[in-house]
Amino acid sequence: MKRMMHIFENKLIEQRLIAEDTAIFGEREGSIVWNRTTRLTDILESVFNSLNISSLLYSRPAEPYWSLLEYLCESSFPVLHLRDNETRTFLHDIPILRDFDPAAISTELRRRKSVYVLGHGIVTHGTMTSEQAFVNYSSICFSAFVKFFADYLVHIRAGEASAAEKETMKRVLDNLSPMNEINDKLLTGPFATEEDVYRAVSEAGKPVVRHGLVDSVMGNVSYLWNGVLFISQTGSFLDALEKCIDPCPIDNSSCAGITASTELPTHLAIVRGTSKKAVLHGHPKFSVIMSLFCEKHDCPNIDACNTKCVEQRYLGDIPIVPGESGTGKFAIVNTVPPALADSRGAIVYGHGVFTTGAVDFNEPFQNLVDIESMARTGYFNLI
C-alpha cells in the first residue's frame, strides 16, 4: 500500500532536500508503520508514542542545507530564530539539541513543530497527516538557507564574518546548484475557453517549482478570465494544481473561493481595474535574501521592517515593499498592487516576489526568473 509518507519522502528527494534512503518516516493509524528500520527507529518510536500525532519524520538534510544548518544551529544554540516572514509566522523558531535523546526530542516537539539535533538533522511531525511533516521540513530548509545567506552578507560587509562562517559558505557554494538559463515556454494567451484557463494556471506553477522558485506549499498563481479570477487554493502545491484551482467571481457574487490562496485579496487588487490578467507569486530565495539586506542602521523602524518600512527600496528596477500575508492594516494587499502599477514585479520584504502579465504566464514567469537572477548576481557582487 502506497502511504502518504512514501509520497512525501519522494517529494523531499525530488526537491533535493534529502538524499535517498536517509529519511525515517512513520505514520500511525492503529499501529505505527515506518518506511524503513534503522538503529534510530526505536528511539523515534518512543518519541512517536509520547506524542498525540499522526506522523513523524527524521532525516539529515542534503547539502547545502546540511552544512548551513549545522553552522547556524551550532552558533545559535539552543534556538534558531528565523528571518523570513511566512516561515517565522507558523514555525516561530526551531529548538536545537546536542543529543539524539528521545526524552529531549519529545519535550521540544510537545511545544514546537520541529527540532534540530546537531550532527543528525531535523525531526518534525504532522499532527494530522504526513504532509504537515513534509511542509515543516521543507520550510526549515528554506528559512535556514535564507537566514544563512542574509546573515553572511551582513557579517561580511561589516567585516565580522568568522572563519567558521566563511568555511561554511565555501562548502555551501560548492554544493549550490548553478542558476542555468531558463527559457520554459508556457501556454500562449489569450485563452478562448475556461478549460484553457484551468490548463494555463496548472501549467504555470510547474516550472516555478521545478526551478526552485518556490518551496513546499508556498506561492500562488491566478488568471482573470471573463470576470472570474482562477486562483490556486490555499495550501496547494504549485506543481500539482489540477484539482486545486478556485474560480472566484471578481464581483464577489459567490464565496466558493473561500478555499482560495491567502493572497486572494492581493491578486484581486492587482487585476481589478487594470489590464493585468496573470499573476505569479513565488518565493525565490535570493530575492528574499536581498530584500532583507538594508544598511540603514539608524532606522526607527528597524525592528518592524516587514510592516513599517517607509523607505523607497529597490533591487535594480524592482521595488521592495513591506507587508504581511492575508488581511489587516499591514497586509501586502496595501503595498504590492500599487508597487506593481509601474513595475514588472515587486518584492515583498522577507517574503517573495509578485509578477504580472497582460496576456498569459510567459511574461510573469520570465520576470520571476529575471528578478531572481538579478538578485543572485547582486548578492554575489556584494560579497
Binding site: G30, R110, C255, I258
Partner: protein
Amino acid sequence: MHGWTGRILKIDLDSKKVSEENPGKGVYEKYIGGKGLAGYYLKDHITKAWNDPEMPLLLFNGPLSGTQSPTSGRMTVMSRSPQTGTVGDASVGGKFGTRMKNAGWDGIIITGRSGSPCGIEISDDRVSFTDASLLSGKLTGEISSILGEKGSSAVTGPASENGVKFSSVIFDRHYAAGRNGLGLIFAAKNLKYITVKGTGKTEVADPEGLKKAREDILRLAAASPVVMGELGITNYGTAAIYDLMDSRRMMPTDNFRKTHFDHAKEMNAAVYKHKYHPKRYGCMGCHILCKKMTEQGEALPEFETMNHFSSLLLNTDTDTVMEANRLCNEMGMDTISAGATLAAYSEIRGKILSGDEIVRLIADIGLGRGNGKALGAGSFDYAAAMGKPEASITVKKLELPAYDPRGAYGMALGYAVSTRGGCHLRAYPIGSEILRKPVPTDRFSFSGKSMIIKISEDANAVVDSLTACKFIFFGASLEEYANAYSAVTGCETSGQELLRIGERIYYAQRMMNAANGFSSVHDDLPARFFNEDGSSGNGIEISRINRDDFIAARSLYYSVRGLDENGIPRKEMVKELGLT
C-alpha cells in the same frame, strides 16, 4: 490563582440557597474549564433522568475568559441531553462567559427545581431570585429587552415551556446554545432566565507573554483565507461556506435525498449581503466578528440555518429563511433540529412546504399546537411515530447539520462517533476535508481519518475548555494557544500537553455515555447514506458510503481512542487518563 478565580457558584433552586465550591488548582489543571470542568461536575449525576431535580445545569467559562486572548468570549452550557440521553453540551458566544468571570465565578452549578417560574440575577457575589411568572409565554427577544441592564442574559422561550425536545437557550439576545435541547433543562428547573454582571478582572500571570501569544494568533488568523479572507467568515459570516458546500456537491438537499441544490446561487451569502446589508457583530473579546446583523438588529442566519431552511426544504425564498431563523430564536429552539424535523415531515407527507407553511409550522412547534406538538419531539420520534423512521436523518436522535457525509468521509465518521449525537463540531473534519485547514485531506477516503477524528476531538475539547472559538483554529493552533494559556494561568504547558487534557475530557464523555448504555450500536449513520447515492456532477461523483469501509474506520477509531470493540471505555485507559 491567575486565569481562574477558584470559585464556582452553586445554586439550589429547591431552597433558593447558594454556596461556593473551590475545586483547587489540581482540578483546574486537569480539566481547564468550560467543557472539561463542566463534565467533571456532571459525571457523578449522568445516570439520573434529565428532569431529575438533582441533575445539574452547568454553565462554565474558561481561564482565558475576560483576557486579551483572542476569541475568549465563549463558554459552555452542559447537562444530560433531554433530546439524546447523551452528555449534552453547547459552546455559546456572546458576553455571558466574560461577565460571569467579571462577577468572580468560573462556573455556575444549578440543581433543584423552583416551585414557580423564577429568574436568577447575579451581580458579583450577590445572587437574587425573582418571580418570572409574568415572563411565561413571552418570546426570547422580549424577555431580553425586559431584562435590559441587569447584565448579560441567558433566557428560554415558549418552546421549552411547551416541551420541545430541541429547545435552546438564548444568550444576550442573539447567541444560541442550540443543540441537545438544553432549554428543557431550564424548564425542568422552572428557571426562565439568568443574568450576570460583575466588576472584577481576570488576573493574568504574564501580560507580556499574553501579548506575544495574542500577536502570534492574530497574525495566523489574518493569514487564513477562511477566517479573515476576502470571502471568509469575517466578511460573510458562516454563510460563506454555503457556496462551497454546493460546489463540492455535498449540500444536504430535500431531506438528504440529494446533495446539490439547483437554486444555491439565489440563496448564497452574497445574495443575503446584497439584500439585507448586514453589519459585523461578534462575541466579546473577538475580532473575527462572524455574526451578521441588519441595521434593525435582526441576525442573519448562520450557514446551517441557511441550508436547513432552504435546500433541505427546497425553499427558494430568503425572506422565509430570515423569518424561520428569527422565529426559532424567538421561540427558543434549535434551528438545525427544527429545519431537519420539518424536512422529515415534508418527506413523510410527500409534499414540498411553502414558505408560509414553514413559518407556520415553526410557530406551531414552539407553541405546542396542531402538528407542531408531534414535531416538537424531534425528527426521530416523529418519524418513528409516523411509521417512517428512515425519514429521520439523525445520529443518537440528534438531527444532522449541513454537511452531507457522502461528500466527506471524515465527517461521516465524526458524526457517527460524536458524544452528543449528529454534530459536526466535535471533530469538525470539514476543516481539513473541505476548507484545507490545517492541511488538506482526501475527503473520499477513510484512510487516516480515525486518527484525524480522534486528535481533532481532543483538540476541540481543549478549545471548548479554554474557552476559545473553533473558527480561529483555521489559522492558529494549540501551539499558540498553549502560550496564551501559560501566560494567563502561569501554568507552563504545550500544545501536546493540552491535547492530552483534551483526550481526558473527551474520554470522560465516552464514559458518561457508556454509563447510560451507549455503545457502537449508537455510533452509526442513517441507512440512507449507505444505500443511496448523492447528486454527482461537475466531475464529482457522490456515491453511497461503503458500509464495510465505514465499520473498519470506526473499529480503527475505537482502537486509537482506547475503547473496546464495542466502543466502551477500557479500565486501563480510564486509569491512564486519571479518570478513576
